[in-house]
């Protein structure tokens, strides 16, 4: 790729099934690309060093910290963000389980939790509390607490959330 700062790197990404082609600066993170360039502000930035999990998105099927990836690295990738979960304005089963179980309060951490849990449930079902805690452990919530989150994951886990995010 180009050695010069300008004009940057031309990347093509698919985000929630929509194809985007953009020129990005070398140091632009994937999180900032999603938020500031595509205006998909559902992905939140908390700690910006990979600890809090608020910026979690799904890249080529794997949940990752979007603050720890560069936009230039995402060239060719298929990305899923929280904006892709609901269908025709209807919450998906996982989002519904979050709502029903009061798994959020201020909502700042919610998009990251939703994406982490979405990826985890595609890998294997969650049937017990211990596994639910494990699945949630990579994200931090600072206001609601985790009891509602655990119940939401168990509800959604038993409802067999499967397949790609639509």
């Amino acid at each position: 790729m180009s050695d010069s700062d300008q004009p940057g790197h031309r990347i093509t990404v698919t985000v929630n099934r929509v194809r985007y082609e953009q020129v990005v600066e070398d140091r632009l993170t994937l999180a900032d690309f999603l938020r500031e360039r595509l205006r998909l502000t559902g992905t939140h930035l908390g700690c910006e060093h990979g600890v809090c999990g608020a910026c979690t998105v799904i890249v080529d099927g794997a949940a990752v910290r979007s603050c720890l990836m560069l936009a230039a690295q995402a060239d060719g990738a298929a990305i899923e963000t929280v904006e892709g979960l609901a269908r025709n304005g209807q919450l998906n089963p996982l989002q519904t389980a979050f709502k029903d179980n009061h798994a959020l309060q201020c909502g700042f951490c919610t998009s990251g939790f939703l994406m982490s849990v979405t990826a985890a449930l595609r890998e294997q079902p969650v049937r017990d509390q211990a596994r639910a805690r494990e699945v949630l452990s990579g994200n931090i919530c600072r206001c609601t607490g985790y009891r509602g989150l655990i119940q939401a994951v168990l509800d959604a886990g038993s409802a067999a959330v499967k397949g790609p995010v639509r």
Binding site: D26, A63, V64, R65, L70, G138
Partner: protein, 297 residues
């Protein structure tokens, strides 16, 4: 925060990677999984001129080679790949045990084995794991390829035998001799946090049940992963009886000189190291007994 300015390179050939490292030396950093480097760039703890992303190098660099005598893990093997490979977990159970303690799946999806080793955080699990296995590091540069044994690779906090123009191409681990049991134990205040201390153990008993080989390494208690030589030699020849375990615990405690920080005092870490060594050996003894009984059935 956001990273400072750098020039991003995404070469597709190894020659190009090595050429960039030779050209830019200290000014360049290799980007593999980015789970340690990107936080440092975001916080400007590291400011670099050139970022050499090796992720486009191709499939050969992402495929572990599991041979009868050796397992080779090239530069782009993700930590999560190991968790999902039944073959690798069977060949190196210690790696699987330790990787589950490394951060969270979202981090392990990107983070690589070689990246963690090259970063050489003193609290990291994988350097301790490699320290109780026969691990050879293959370092590549435009000057050629050289190998470094694990005992010489880790030199200080975040400092390894790698020169600025070198890439950690792969690590090769000799399969432990048959009958070797391995255990990884650590304690962290929250799931996925860096451990306050961690311990990797590999040992093998002879026919009589006496320990014939024993390696113990601790992480989080020194500038590098630390082999606990006094504890190891006390274990040799024993049957891991109660008296031995008590002595090994205090030897291990005396062998480490950890630093204090906001998370734990030096005293606490020293005590913890002893306790973890003891617990790991008890588990190893249990595994060994289980195997002997299974083989007599």
């Amino acid at each position: 925060m956001k990273p400072g300015r750098f020039t991003y390179h995404a070469p597709t050939q190894l020659d190009e990677v090595l050429g960039l490292l030779a050209e830019h030396g200290d000014e360049a950093k290799v980007l593999a999984g980015g789970q340690s480097l990107m936080p440092m760039l975001n916080f400007r703890l590291a400011q670099i001129g050139h970022l050499v992303d090796i992720n486009r190098l191709g499939a050969r660099f992402s495929a572990p080679v599991i041979g009868p005598a050796r397992i080779t893990i090239p530069a782009l093997v993700r930590q999560r790949q190991v968790e999902h490979s039944a073959e690798l977990l069977a060949a190196l159970p210690l790696l699987g045990q330790a990787i589950r303690e490394v951060a969270h799946p979202q981090v392990r999806n990107r983070g690589t084995i070689c990246g963690s080793l090259a970063h050489a955080d003193p609290a990291a699990e994988l350097p301790a794991v490699m320290s109780v296995l026969d691990t050879t590091f293959t370092l590549a540069s435009t000057r050629g390829i050289r190998t470094v044994e694990v005992a010489d690779f880790f030199q200080f906090h975040w400092t390894t035998a790698l020169e600025p123009d070198e890439l950690l191409l792969e690590v090769t681990i000799r399969r432990p001799p048959p009958g070797t049991v391995t255990v990884f134990r650590e304690f962290a205040t929250r799931r996925g946090d860096f451990a306050l201390a961690g311990v990797a153990v590999a040992c093998r008993a002879d026919e009589s049940g006496a320990v014939a080989d024993c390696r113990i390494a601790a992480c989080g208690v020194a500038a590098t992963p630390l082999r606990l030589a006094a504890a190891e030699s006390r274990v040799l020849g024993s049957t891991l009886d109660t008296e031995t375990l008590a002595e090994v615990e205090s030897l291990a405690r005396a062998e480490v000189d950890p630093a204090a920080d906001i998370h734990a005092s030096a005293h606490y870490r020293r005590r913890l190291t002893g306790v973890l060594v003891k617990r790991a050996l008890v588990e190893a003894a249990g595994q060994a007994t289980g195997r002997r009984e299974a083989s007599h059935v």
